[in-house]
């Protein structure tokens, strides 16, 4: 029993840690694009990678200050959004989906390629770029701190605190936007583009704004992740993260301000709890070794997540915060 409480504490830390912040910022971005505007961005991780590498390359390779790195990362994300949006946003939704998924995979392969090694340091990645950021912490980052039975290093705590502040600011921004006439226009675009065009709105511009905003939020997520892990490696930015963020968004409830935030916390909590819990149960023989070995746990936890999502979609398709009436409406 004590071990399960330990597992719970570990899971709680995961649900509050910078990984959850990373996922939450990705999911908030996707919420703007998919939840409100109806754009299918299947390459959100590419924006995160540009954010993380924006800092990493600027600081480690070019010797620029941390803040310049942040600006570089954000600009790179804006440029990527414009490049992806310009040709595809006039077309049907599927084209953006194809372009983004290809861009995410292509950029990762480019960053880890030999020819890019002088800049990105290839598969070994970059590190040692977060000193300036950690030094900003108002507390002693060399100490360890205990919160609610979980142990945090000072630097980790600082990244996490800044991360949640970013999540709060992003949520406030989204809240302000979606209750404004701007939000009404993008939600209408999700419902029917042509109707919005016929009422004199430049649909293309709104879609572009949503794509850029979502991409910038994703870049912030990537920065938090790079600072949290103190390294930037192309293979940290696998596109599976995009789909994990979609799952978190659907779990929390799409087109709700807090949906992606709560969804991401819960998602990491469940993944970590399943992981540690199963290992504990295998370790003390509750689950026989023949049925499930400790090496299978990493895969099994995602099976459990998948099962959970299926049950969610059957019994609560609107997610945690969604409005069932709204979700059940025929989208025409």
């Amino acid at each position: 029993m004590g071990e399960l409480i330990d597992a719970f504490a570990v899971a709680l830390k995961a649900g509050l840690g910078f990984q959850a912040v990373f996922l939450a910022l990705l999911a908030i971005g996707i919420n703007v694009q998919f939840g409100y505007t109806g754009l299918l961005n299947f390459g959100q991780i590419a924006f995160a990678m540009l954010g993380g590498y924006g800092i990493a390359i600027s600081v480690s390779q070019w010797g620029l200050p941390f803040w310049v790195g942040v600006v570089v990362g954000l600009l790179a994300a804006v440029v990527l959004a414009l490049l992806l949006g310009l040709p595809t946003l006039r077309l049907r939704a599927d084209y953006l989906a194809i372009a983004t998924i290809a861009a995410a995979e292509g950029l990762r392969l480019l960053f880890r390629s030999v020819s890019a090694t002088p800049v990105t340091n290839g598969t070994r990645g970059l590190s040692g770029f977060n000193a300036e950021f950690v030094a900003l912490a108002p507390w002693d980052t060399a100490r360890r701190y205990g919160i609610l039975g979980t142990q945090w290093s000072g630097a980790e705590l600082w990244v996490t605190a800044v991360g949640w502040l970013l999540v709060a600011l992003a949520s406030l921004l989204i809240w302000l936007l979606v209750r404004s006439p701007w939000g009404r226009v993008v939600k209408s675009i999700r419902e029917d583009e042509d109707a919005v065009r016929a009422l004199g709105k430049n649909v293309y511009v709104y879609k572009m704004q949503a794509l850029v905003l979502g991409g910038v939020l994703g870049a912030f997520g990537g920065m938090v992740y790079a600072l949290g892990t103190a390294s930037a490696n192309p293979d940290q930015y696998q596109n599976a993260n995009t789909f994990l963020a979609y799952a978190a968004l659907i779990l929390g409830g799409a087109a709700r301000v807090l949906g992606p935030v709560i969804g991401s916390m819960l998602m990491y909590f469940i993944i970590q709890f399943a992981d540690t819990g199963l290992r504990t149960l295998i370790g003390n023989g509750v689950i026989p070794e023949g049925l499930l070995s400790a090496t299978d746990v990493a895969q099994i936890r995602f099976v459990l997540i998948g099962l959970g999502l299926m049950l969610l979609l059957v019994f609560r398709p609107q997610g945690i915060f969604g409005d069932r009436r709204e979700v059940m409406l025929d989208a025409r």
Partner: protein, 342 residues
Amino acid sequence: MPADQTPGQPAAGGAHAASLDPAATGGAPRLLARAALRDVAWEVGVPKPDPAIVVDGVTRSFGGLTAVSVDHLEVQRGGITGLIGPNGAGKTTLFNLLTGFDQPNTGTWSFDGRPLGKLAPHQVARLGVVRTFQLTKALSRLTVLQNMLLGAQGQKGESFWRALVPGTWRAQERANTEKAMELLGRFKLDRKKDDFAGTLSGGQRKLLEMARALMSDPKVVMLDEPMAGVNPALTQSLLGHVKDLREEGMTVVFVEHDMDVVRDISDWVVVMAAGKVIAEGPPQSISQNQAVVDAYLGAHHDAPLTIEEEDRVLAEAEAAIAREQHAEGDVIGSETRREENR
């Protein structure tokens, strides 16, 4: 039926001046539009006394099919123009072209003298030409009131940065909401204002779409089959609303299949078939127009034929076959003989 009508005659000029100021004349626009069109010839491409929309040489083809090929068409300002024609006549394609939703292969058209040819749909809408769709486009997961508010033009809060400062758009939003509620009241949807538009019935969606279009204070309203799939009781109220648009000085163009509706509300009817305008005129002229009757019903529409007529048609056909046989030799001849023996 004076065929030598030219724009700018005293009567027509008077109608023009008055139709620009409908408020001053009260219920008169209907009569004015009719009066202005009374002396116009019943000819395809005839000039109107005061055209709001002028179409010139517009063609649009999809592959080998020419969907629209209109040489010249003028739409009278302040009147209700009905656009009719059999399925596939190109009515909706013409609508799409006029509102920027589709680009033509050739041709130009203008609204109030401003060319519309190169404009995107939203630019056309901003000029005051707003349309509805054949398949109603209610925005399902927005409430009825939100649907209405979307229609308002020049909203400050629709810009990204100003949206973040509610103070810049609150007052405008309140004014728009008031206007929306007034319109919803007129269309008897005010009690539904907080319902999702997706929960409305088909007819209510048509009403909502029309009301939403009116939120933009349009000059020209283009309605694509406003009565399709609407029950007869609601049709009457929709008809009333369409007439009201004219009373308020708007120009209405609508596509409709129900001839009773067309006869009831149109000041002028344009008939299309196979992409071309085949007839124009006041509603009562259309049912007598041979080209229209043929386009809709085929040449031999007075079914059923009497026995004598049937014999005569048969004899004519046989004679024709015999002639062809004579001219084109045995292959076709043997075919047709087999047909006859059956």
